[in-house]
């Protein structure tokens, strides 16, 4: 028997949802929460605009910039009602309306015309689109959902790599990358061990550590893409099939 792991205690004991932080009334807190929201959603939004709305790269970039700055300035998020829809669906619907309004005005937001210009890696996002040849978006909500999860996992993987490097344990990430992230067709614990000159037991232990860290970081990031505790628990269940009790969800697990 093994004692319980309390790795989750590494997270802040009180992680509030994006909506709670935005609604707090503190301008600095609101700005920071909006930053988290933008980081979580700008990439899925860009892909959605490019592939669903078929906007050009330049227009999609403009719309993303304009949408998030307008949402911040006009308090879109404050109007969200959890009883009506998931936060992600609400945000996508806002984006749809924003695009329609922009088109109706026949004046897409001028480049650089916004007071606040977000520093976002649009060339990188455009480059990633090469992986979606001839993709047809049948279900807009599903597509936006999948892209949000893809972006969340990508941020988690980057954060994980940084964390293990910072802690002087880059080998743990290397094992994870070779076995789970970019495995070769014949990847096994033994082949990964041979490639990295480790024992099979070391590979096993590294993989356990990496997977657990991935899970913890992904769940922590998940809080930044949902609006309420109930939605957080539902998303965690949908994402990993895990149950998080209401009391635990307040601890940022």
């Amino acid at each position: 028997m093994v004692a319980y792991s309390f790795a989750f205690m590494r997270f802040p004991m009180t992680r509030r949802s994006v909506l709670e932080r935005i609604q707090e009334g503190d301008p600095d807190l609101r700005r920071a929460a909006f930053g988290d929201l933008t980081v979580a959603y700008w990439r899925p939004s860009y892909r959605y605009l490019r592939l669903h709305w078929r906007l050009s790269p330049e227009t999609a970039e403009d719309v993303v910039q304009a949408f998030f700055t307008t949402a911040f300035e006009k308090g879109y998020v404050e109007k969200y009602d959890p009883a009506k829809a998931k936060f992600r669906t609400f945000l996508r619907t806002c984006l749809d309306r924003f695009v329609q309004n922009t088109r109706q005005a026949e004046r897409a937001t001028k480049r650089g015309g916004q007071a606040m210009l977000l520093s976002l890696d649009f060339p990188g996002a455009e480059h990633e689109l090469a992986a979606y040849p001839a993709l047809v978006v049948d279900d807009a909500d599903r597509f936006f959902h999948d892209e949000t999860i893809r972006a969340l996992f990508a941020r988690t993987v980057d954060a994980m790599r940084d964390a293990f490097t910072r802690e002087g344990k880059p080998q743990i990430f290397d094992v994870f990358a070779r076995h789970d992230l970019h495995p070769s067709a014949d990847a096994t614990y033994a082949t990964v061990a041979a490639d990295l000159r480790l024992t099979t037991a070391q590979v096993t232990n590294h993989l356990h550590a990496a997977r657990r860290r991935f899970r913890e970081l992904a769940l922590a990031s998940l809080r930044d893409v949902v609006a309420t505790e109930d939605e957080y628990r539902a998303e965690a269940r949908e994402l990993f099939g895990v149950e998080i009790s209401p009391e635990r969800s307040r601890t940022g697990v």
Binding site: M1, V2, Y4, R43, R215, I244, R248, V253
Partner: protein
């Protein structure tokens, strides 16, 4: 930023909760099912060289409710040794704190999936009686299932019938189960719907069995006496139902043998019909004999 393909996203979702066993005995192979309480994986027992199933709690961090339910389920299963109940081999805690238990790997499908293939009333009743017998055994051992429904019954490749998901079961008079509202709409006794789960008695399982019997018989015309058996199970007042599953099994056995059942008072005509059905071969033989005698007598009189 790292870009991840759909395949990698899918794999990360799977490996993020992959069980990390702290011994080499079991090799986890693939997930085979996921419920609200736990996820079941197919695994290989390297010591006994056989396939097993490992059910792992879905609670990533200590969660009194879910863990208690999984622990309770393992204990209930370990306590009930019956062909209709999956045997438990082992239990423990993963490196990351999640509870798990090891059980027999059942190859088959749920009753919900199998039901359309049960063509005749006899086939459907045969399966149902196996379920009721298992519940009768559990009740005799002081266990109330509390969530009997088609998705919680597995029918194996060789026709074996197993009652699953004992996670919300109650060990009568021994362990007070968590105060949670349990059951599945359509199969849930009125007293459970009212949230009276703490005092759930075997009668709640009788109600669910009645709903299950009605469900498994489907839209086909159901004989009156069989309908009466299902109706008796589904009475709103627990005292009007069968006292226990053994009584239900006994009534079903009488029905299958063509005998009167306690749930239905037969009319004179129905009794005659029952008697005729039971002795129809004898009746036909006697009738044929009498007919032959009459014909012989008739022809003997003709000059």
């Amino acid at each position: 930023m790292t870009w991840l393909s759909d395949a990698v996203v899918g794999r990360l979702r799977e490996v993020a909760t992959w069980p990390e066993l702290n011994s080499d005995r079991y090799e986890i192979r693939r997930p085979v099912g996921r419920g609200g309480m736990g996820t079941v994986y197919a695994a290989y027992d390297t010591v006994l060289e056989r396939e097993v199933a490992i059910k792992v709690s879905n609670a990533l961090v200590p969660d009194d409710g879910l863990e208690e339910r999984l622990r309770l389920e393992a204990r209930v299963l370990a306590r009930l040794e019956h062909p209709g109940i999956v045997p438990v081999h082992d239990a423990g805690v993963l490196d990351d704190g999640r509870l798990y238990y090891v059980m027999k790997l059942v190859h088959g499908e749920t009753l919900a999936a199998r039901a359309p293939a049960l063509a005749t009333e006899a086939d459907r009743l045969a399966v149902f009686v196996r379920i009721a017998e298992t519940v009768a055994f559990a009740q005799d051992s002081g266990v109330v299932h509390r969530d009997l429904q088609p998705a919680n019954v597995m029918v194996g490749r060789f026709g074996e019938v197993l009652v699953l998901d004992w996670g919300v079961a109650r060990l009568v008079d021994l362990i007070e189960s968590p105060g949670i509202r349990v059951g599945t709409p359509g199969f849930m006794a009125p007293e459970l719907q009212r949230g009276d789960s703490a005092t759930a008695e075997p009668a709640a399982d009788i109600f669910a069995l009645g709903a299950l019997l009605t469900w498994i018989l489907g839209d086909a015309a159901v004989p009156r006496r069989l309908r009466a058996i299902a109706d008796k199970c589904a009475q709103p007042d627990p005292h009007d139902r069968y006292a226990n599953a053994a009584d239900l099994v006994a009534d079903l056995s009488r029905y299958r043998a063509g005998l009167p059942v306690s749930a239905h008072r037969d009319t004179l005509l129905e009794r005659a019909g029952l008697w005729f059905t039971k002795y129809q071969t004898l009746v036909f033989l006697i009738a044929a004999y009498l007919l032959m005698r009459a014909l012989l007598a008739f022809f003997q009189r003709i000059p």
